[in-house]
């Protein structure tokens, strides 16, 4: 049975859960958020991705109610949330530092928000038990935060922020304090919990791998503006700018001059080098100056000249980065330009024939490169 894809952002009928309308946030002279509009839908796992200082945390704090926008409106289920104080919003936040109450046990931390709602005792107990089970913390209910590990603390923070069944859960760098292995496990756990509870998650992160793994859509931010909002695969395969292409994953950027040719362009990038062919759906507007963005894993490397390749250039291996599962070859072209090519290490190291100073051919198809204007 084919699953219907979850894509409310493509559905013109769908009503967004959160709507930023021309939101601007200033701190003195500094503009943290610059006339930003964005729609986030129910049940989405939405990631705000960007370098530190790009305004992603400010957006989250505005959603939680800790910062009022300087201009524009933020709507939650169609209601302007500006006049609603943080303690009255159906929004909960998981803090980067977890902000667990050190004087309370795990159980009391999770029950904290429920007690504020004046729920009956049995209801609180049932809900806390449910949360403990969801985050597999049953054994630690009576411990204080300083008596459990970092990973467990992270789960307590998650349980506490989910306990009130918020419409929207905000996660501020939730996995930042965990080591890499634990972080990967926890990413899947987060996705699992998000699916089980059906809560809308908005996650702030500077780790692009994390954003790609967990999110249904990713917003790449820079200097208070959204650069691109799209699904992880589209962000990776069809970046809309050099900034996004460069920020997400590894990429070769080749600057050149484009000429229209058939359903794509021919790009001249250096003297004595063949023209590069790239198909593209969207045409260039400007003078013809363009950037080609090519992912290293889409470039094949071989010692013989490849037959029927749309693009092929010659170079010398300058350096090899061996990552275990992958190897990245840094190939220097005749004009000095370094191109990265990546191959999966499907064979044992002794069987591989390429080494330093070898003369090689790099090749890629005419759909591999993305043509970008700056």
């Amino acid at each position: 049975m084919a699953q219907t894809a979850f894509a409310p952002w493509d559905d013109p009928e769908a009503k967004p859960l959160i709507e930023f309308r021309h939101v601007t946030k200033r701190f003195g002279d500094f503009i943290a958020i610059d006339d930003l509009s964005l729609e986030i839908y129910e049940r989405e796992f939405f990631a705000l991705l960007g370098p530190s200082g790009c305004g992603k945390t400010t957006m989250m704090r505005m959603l939680a109610g800790f910062e009022p926008p300087s201009a524009g409106t933020i709507l939650l289920s169609g209601q302007d949330i500006a006049p609603v104080p943080p303690n009255k919003r159906a929004v909960n936040m998981m803090f980067q530092s977890y902000a667990l109450f050190p004087h309370l046990t795990v159980w009391d931390n999770i029950a904290f928000g429920l007690k504020r709602d004046k729920l009956p005792k049995e209801a609180i107990e049932a809900r806390v038990a449910e949360m403990l089970k969801l985050t597999r913390l049953e054994k630690f209910a009576r411990r204080k935060p300083h008596q459990i590990s970092g990973g467990q603390r992270q789960r307590v923070a998650l349980a506490r922020s989910l306990a009130k069944a918020p419409k929207l859960l905000l996660l501020d760098e939730p996995l930042g304090a965990l080591d890499k292995k634990l972080r990967q496990d926890t990413q899947f756990e987060l996705m699992d919990i998000q699916e089980k509870t059906g809560t809308t998650f908005v996650i702030v992160t500077h780790d692009q791998e994390e954003a790609m793994t967990v999110a249904s859509r990713v917003a790449v931010m820079d200097e208070g503006r959204l650069i691109q909002v799209d699904t992880p695969d589209r962000i990776y395969e069809y970046p809309n700018s050099v900034y996004v292409a460069d920020f997400i994953g590894d990429v070769n950027i080749i600057e050149g001059h484009a000429e229209k040719s058939g359903d794509g362009y021919e790009v001249t990038f250096a003297e004595g080098q063949p023209k590069l062919r790239a198909k593209t759906a969207n045409g260039l507007r400007g003078s013809g100056r363009c950037y080609l963005a090519i992912r290293p894993e889409k470039i094949a490397i071989s010692s013989q000249e490849p037959q029927d390749a749309a693009n092929a250039v010659r170079g010398v291996i300058d350096d090899i980065a061996y990552l275990g599962n992958l190897s990245t070859y840094y190939v220097r072209l005749d004009n000095g330009k370094i191109i990265k090519a990546q191959t999966a290490n499907t064979r044992r190291i002794a069987k591989r024939d390429l080494t330093w100073e070898d003369s090689v051919w790099l090749s890629w198809t005419d759909t591999a490169a993305v043509v970008l204007e700056n």
Partner: protein, 296 residues
Amino acid sequence: MRRLLLISVPYLWLLALFLVPFFIVLKISLSDTALAIPPYTPTLDLGAGWAGLKGFFAELDLENFWFLTTDDLYWKAYLSSVWIALFSTLLTLIVGYPIAYGMAQAREEWRPTLMMLVILPFWTSFLIRVYSWMGILSQEGVLNQFLMWSGVISDPLMILNTNTAVYIGIVYTYLPFMILPIYAALEKLDISLIEAAEDLGCSRFQAFWLVTVPLSKNGIIAGCFLVFIPALGEFVIPSLLGGSQTLMIGKVLWEEFFNNRDWPVASAVAVILLLILIIPIILFQRNEQKQREAEG
């Protein structure tokens, strides 16, 4: 050997500055008054050898402690001291907590200055500061003059030489001891904890009551002990600011020593005072240790 030497330093300190004086006072409290210098007997005469030592110990008795129970002045003075110390500790807490809270909320670059302002009065002699309170609180004092000038009162208030003046004096003198530990606790408080509490449905006040206060508990306890312990034996403030009806054990002690020249009874009063103080001191140490364990 070196370790032993290192450990022995604080113990020698304790021995020289606490235990030796304490045993001297204890010995005097077991002696009898005499018209002599020093004004008590017996004095230890090592020249008489073993017999002299035996005679010395035979003459020591608990008579002075027994005397303290026969005159109700003493237990009333102890009780009244405990009450005054407790009440002024509470007042100091009520005044000190908001100040400490305000300091911790202040912008980072202002904090050292505020801290300096709290400590600054210590640079002046304690006695001079208490005397200046006499100038402020007396009937012709600054406070009464101001209140009469502004028309709040028509007759001067009687503040000096009452218990109120003693409370004012103690709160003023010991305020920094309350502020500093509370400030230290509040300054460490992570602001995101308060935000988390608000995010989970607390009002500002609830967040303060459920998060800020419990997390500054150790500072509050430390501050209260640091005020209560010296206030209990306070002598200068009640004798300068208090009236004839202000009964505090420190004052009684002074009068026994210098007015009555009854050193043995005065020493007995001091020994009992010390025993009373040991309870809160032990509790204080316990609190400190628990805090260290929680942080460790």
